[in-house]
Subunit: 148 residues, 8 copies
Amino acid sequence: MLRVYLSGEIHTDWRDQIVEGAKDLGVSFDAPVTDHAASDDCGVVILGAEDNKFWHDRKGALVNAIRTRKGIEEADVVVVRFGDKYKQWNAAFDAGYAAALGKSLIILQPPEHDHALKEVDAAAQAVARTPQEVVEILRYVLEGTLPG
Amino acid sequence: MLRVYLSGEIHTDWRDQIVEGAKDLGVSFDAPVTDHAASDDCGVVILGAEDNKFWHDRKGALVNAIRTRKGIEEADVVVVRFGDKYKQWNAAFDAGYAAALGKSLIILQPPEHDHALKEVDAAAQAVARTPQEVVEILRYVLEGTLPG
Amino acid sequence: MLRVYLSGEIHTDWRDQIVEGAKDLGVSFDAPVTDHAASDDCGVVILGAEDNKFWHDRKGALVNAIRTRKGIEEADVVVVRFGDKYKQWNAAFDAGYAAALGKSLIILQPPEHDHALKEVDAAAQAVARTPQEVVEILRYVLEGTLPG
Amino acid sequence: MLRVYLSGEIHTDWRDQIVEGAKDLGVSFDAPVTDHAASDDCGVVILGAEDNKFWHDRKGALVNAIRTRKGIEEADVVVVRFGDKYKQWNAAFDAGYAAALGKSLIILQPPEHDHALKEVDAAAQAVARTPQEVVEILRYVLEGTLPG
Amino acid sequence: MLRVYLSGEIHTDWRDQIVEGAKDLGVSFDAPVTDHAASDDCGVVILGAEDNKFWHDRKGALVNAIRTRKGIEEADVVVVRFGDKYKQWNAAFDAGYAAALGKSLIILQPPEHDHALKEVDAAAQAVARTPQEVVEILRYVLEGTLPG
Amino acid sequence: MLRVYLSGEIHTDWRDQIVEGAKDLGVSFDAPVTDHAASDDCGVVILGAEDNKFWHDRKGALVNAIRTRKGIEEADVVVVRFGDKYKQWNAAFDAGYAAALGKSLIILQPPEHDHALKEVDAAAQAVARTPQEVVEILRYVLEGTLPG
Amino acid sequence: MLRVYLSGEIHTDWRDQIVEGAKDLGVSFDAPVTDHAASDDCGVVILGAEDNKFWHDRKGALVNAIRTRKGIEEADVVVVRFGDKYKQWNAAFDAGYAAALGKSLIILQPPEHDHALKEVDAAAQAVARTPQEVVEILRYVLEGTLPG
Amino acid sequence: MLRVYLSGEIHTDWRDQIVEGAKDLGVSFDAPVTDHAASDDCGVVILGAEDNKFWHDRKGALVNAIRTRKGIEEADVVVVRFGDKYKQWNAAFDAGYAAALGKSLIILQPPEHDHALKEVDAAAQAVARTPQEVVEILRYVLEGTLPG
């Protein structure tokens, strides 16, 4: 069975498209918590409030890392989505983390980011433009069949 | 001897400040090629031109990775500087790469990036605001002495 | 599935509280033998008595380590409980062992131990005060939901 | 050359005794910062004050870990001293960390701690009672000669 | 369960013979995509055409590597078949990759390649001449029984 | 589930005793091929005769290593039995191999071998005298219960 | 210092050209024994003749592997040269071995081999056509300067 | 520089012959303590007497392992000598330990041990009959020259 971790942008439905498109492939998908508010506040909600926003963020980021690290470390393929907005440094961080562990990386990005992502792309097995392309890669890798 | 890799922003003199401030500490510093034009074009200048900008960039990024990976893999401490401009995904990628290898990370960043860098910071040993603070950490780590 | 190893204090029911609270999460829990007398004497009961208490203890500690090491090495998350009594060096030893293996650590400790545990906590993803908080972390990590 | 990391108790001169006793052996010694006040405050002195003692401690512990991890990871032998006072959980944490990395461990401890340290001792190559015994082990390991 | 990766030549039915011969052994077999055209073109069919044949090939090779690396990394035994035709450098590359990961290697080759394959064979557990011999090795390894 | 590899002496029924004694524990046992003639001749029977006994032996030993290495690498516990006869260097080799991989070792040996096996025993978690003691260790490790 | 292993074709002076071109860079070069006759016969000359050419070759290949493995494992960069003649499976094997260890690979090959080497190239940081290009990569990686 | 660990038999001058024969090669040799009495008694002489011979031996074996493990782990080549006498299980243990770490092994043994050592030999790069052959292998590996 192929295990795929879906990292990065959380404000569009790209993960749903991939999971739906690959539903017959027997792939096991994992991902970070995509509820933005829960993700930001998980640390302080569970472990107690912080006056300082820096430590508020730290507590949450450390808790989220339990899930993220496990997801990446157990994955065969890590798909990292860079969207149109935000800094998305956590996505690039996940890509670097996955690369250092020798994971197969697929980067899903619009062409306007190509130059800025060249170091990330150079560590990847594929640069895809749409969730559908990611699905087609997964299908080919698992079944050897191409679209069309 | 402590080996320190200085990753990230290449348009200000933060590396020089750290190297100068730490010059009596016997630290061995390494860094990417900071000549922006050379870094972008190294692949095609050496290995031949490409019509397609995507592969132009790929060739260069792959060659640069020879240096970057060696620098990070041999480092005890990886300092990653996030500046005011650009996407800086390669900096976050290096941070993730270093974190996965268990390196000590020091992130050098302005406070306005704190929320966006919370996942990166959570993997780091220190978040510094100035090159001088990085020097003080290196001095403390090596000699046990604090400033002032 | 998340595998969690519950290390440390064996004289209160904190493990039961976590297992009960997380019973709907599909977590696989492991732990050391918590029968204090059996744990102390397993070596000599099985392998023969020793005149010297030092070797009596050694025989038992080596046998217990078969279970402990397997439990930690296979865990995704290691929870280490520091209670009110005893030296608890084996708990701190387990925490260091887990940290070196890159496991996610959750430390469960009363506030009065905060200063003494600062090095251990700095290697952890979370410092919890109650078994309930540990359960909430596990629930959030697995399901993305927060309490309340 | 043998590299030895001297972890644990910082309020007596046991490190000096070992370094002095082994001065003709060509051993390279490393250790944590043993200035208690500097060690406690390094984080806030360099990186800015914290209102909350918990994060004051965290900042310092993270900075100290840069030195500690490097010292342990580069060591051939890790000597861990347990003294008469304090919780010393950081010493036990270092021992566990070193054990997981496959380092040779020498535990230096008074007999009254034997039962409480049995799990730590069971991961060690030697349990010594005096700094002089540690020196004699180092001399034997390097030169094959025994005392007397 | 034994996991076996079948690498190398894709123009004869040697894989079918092994899978058929071992069908009662409970072995899990994996292999590269053996549809030559699909394997050559997978990159550009899914991710877009390339003017330059070099990058056409690169795109496909990177996508195929997702499957190949997973197959080799998860295998207990890697069988590498060298046939009569083509350069077959990818087969030798897979053998080297598997050897560096400590996999058990079985090389399936005709005698005329013996001298040219001596370095590859020296890293292998067996040099077989027919698919049937590979089946007999798998049967012996799993069941301890010999043919005849 | 605990996976146990039973290495060493093949001329008595010690493996059967352990498997029988532990049959209610859900342990997964593995072992080398214990048919002495098959083990000696597997290489030449499958892969062709050798004039030279040295290469006859080599061919067989390489084939047997496919099974042995997998068995040891997947084991949680490696039990190594030293009996009364033969050189048994392969048993000691397996013990060293397992020790380097960080496996829990149980050595099953008669007292007359104690001095000769002291280096092997020093890397083990237990030195047992009878198969029953091995069973009792497995039961304790899995269930926390002691005999009697 | 950069350590470079020069693998592959031994019948032209490409190694000399690289070593000469890089002589001011402080690179440490290593390579297999390039005396073809010595390389083929080292096993039997030192360890005794073999009637069977297969084992004659095996003995030599095993001895040569002592040097090859050390050279690759200690290298930062592995350059693999594919020439015009011979099967060159050992070159591709070395490339796969180096790739699995995460080494930076530079493949030096004529364009007519591009399709056959696509899997090897896809694991490399650069595909060079001349020894001079390899020198220019090394110079850029070390000094950040480009030719011309 | 090549680092060679000389393991095994301690009652003949084979180590001296190798060191003398290789004195111009710049090899760094390491070995266990070869003073039999010191090796047996080092534990109790330094750390205190034991009534029980078993623990007397254990204490010494653990101390000796500090040296042995370091020697093997840092070696490029491990030479293991099997002589005419004694059980020599520690030699076979060292061979297994080195094999699991991927070290190049050279076994130095008389022909009468060939069958008993077949599993050990199958993990080795060479089986030598005399110290002079070991020297010739080292010379060839380092300088590419053959005897005669």
